[in-house]
Symmetry: C2
Subunit: 242 residues, 2 copies
């Protein structure tokens, strides 16, 4: 249920890293999980390709076990697909005709962990530049307090997740109360970067690592704005389309 | 001793909140403690007014006990001076003729805690806009790896400390390797704000609270650039002038 009424607009806050999560109260709120490079982007691509649900798991062994129950396994650590899995964490892995009506058991370095950490929230949804418009409209319609939860990189702040938090906050700024410094910073960083998001991200350390891995085309793909019009959402233990 | 050599420039990293400290290795590094509103600014003012040393303590009771040993007690919590203490955390408290040759035992909500948390560093110094030039020159001369440690507000990110980290990083960018996303973000935020730092800070939540407490003139004071040419430094358990 929405927690706000007509006299009190809902609030918008940003968690810049999972290490800061204990400072925030998620109860009654919509948490937008953000792992732009690349879990939340790739999950959106997967739904576009016909995946019916993603089941996030903590360990690769759990993904392997679920392969025996009809799931496709997806596992990434430190930016690379783990051996033995059909899917990793690149959006191009998920642009496949073979994913129609499939269930995917997924584990990634940062993103899937945030899904588990957010269990106290009223609602957990998936945000990426690829479905930005849909997330904006969802938040405006539900009118709950929103927390943008940046997955970061191994608990450190990262630029690309913060930029998405800023893009989302900017689009919601007329309808939400924004008082937290993290969100104000995110909006200003987004304004600095918005004319060339991919170029800006490529200066980030995370992206520098990506370049070394030859994955810079993933960045260009993940910076596309609103090419999908849906919002993946946790229902029980699974991500499905809302 | 400097940890770098002529072929490897020293690195510059930024810790955006004390909650992120466990992710960083302080050994062999210079840590710049940053609590712009207001501990590190006020400490600089105190040295300018003739204080010979600051002894940071965790609890107000410790400051009271040291008053019996010739110290002046300084204690702030939640932005306000605690009853019974001569000094709080406002820079104007420290613009006093009565501080010549005095020792001050100080405890504040955020800043003094960071001094204690940084004990593993090779060197701990105090940074504020009031002594920015001196800190820049100190870091260039010592050539150690630098960590800008933002005190934040009760473990949350804040804008004013991040802006100072950005100002410092920008000034050191020719001589230091900057790869961490936190520092890249801090530099861009500083570039956004630099033409009107005080105006920018007043939009921050922390500053909004300050305005409610009628302390907005503290912000204007603390945003002055390089009016003091010294670097307070931890030596043993005390801050002194280096």
């Amino acid at each position: 249920m929405p927690t706000s009424n007509s006299t009190t607009p809902p609030s918008f806050e940003t968690i810049l890293s999972p290490a800061l999560l204990p400072l925030y109260n998620l109860q009654g709120k919509t948490v937008v999980i953000i792992d732009i490079l690349r879990a939340t982007s790739s999950i959106c691509v997967g739904f576009h390709s016909g995946v019916t649900l993603f089941h996030p798991v903590a360990h690769p062994e759990q993904a392997t076990a679920l392969e025996n129950e009809g799931f496709i396994g997806a596992a990434e650590r430190n930016g690379q697909k783990l051996n033995g899995f059909m899917l990793g964490n690149s959006p191009f892995d998920y642009l496949s005709n073979n994913l129609q009506d499939k269930k995917v058991a997924i584990t990634t370095t940062n993103g899937t962990r945030c899904l588990h950490l957010s269990y106290e929230a009223d609602e957990i949804i998936i945000g990426s530049f690829l479905n930005l418009n849909a997330v904006v409209n969802h938040c405006k319609n539900t009118k709950r307090d929103v927390i943008a939860f940046c997955a970061g990189w191994k608990d450190k702040f990262n630029l690309e997740d913060t930029l998405f938090a800023g893009a989302l906050a900017k689009r919601l700024s007329s309808d939400f109360v924004i008082e937290c410094d993290s969100t104000l910073a995110a909006i200003d960083l987004y304004n600095t970067a918005k004319d060339d998001l991919a170029g800006y991200i490529k200066k980030a350390s995370h992206a520098q690592r990506f370049e070394r891995l030859g994955l810079e085309h993933d960045i260009d793909f993940c910076m596309q704005n609103s090419i999908y019009d849906f919002v993946p959402k946790m229902v029980g233990d699974n991500l499905v389309l809302s």
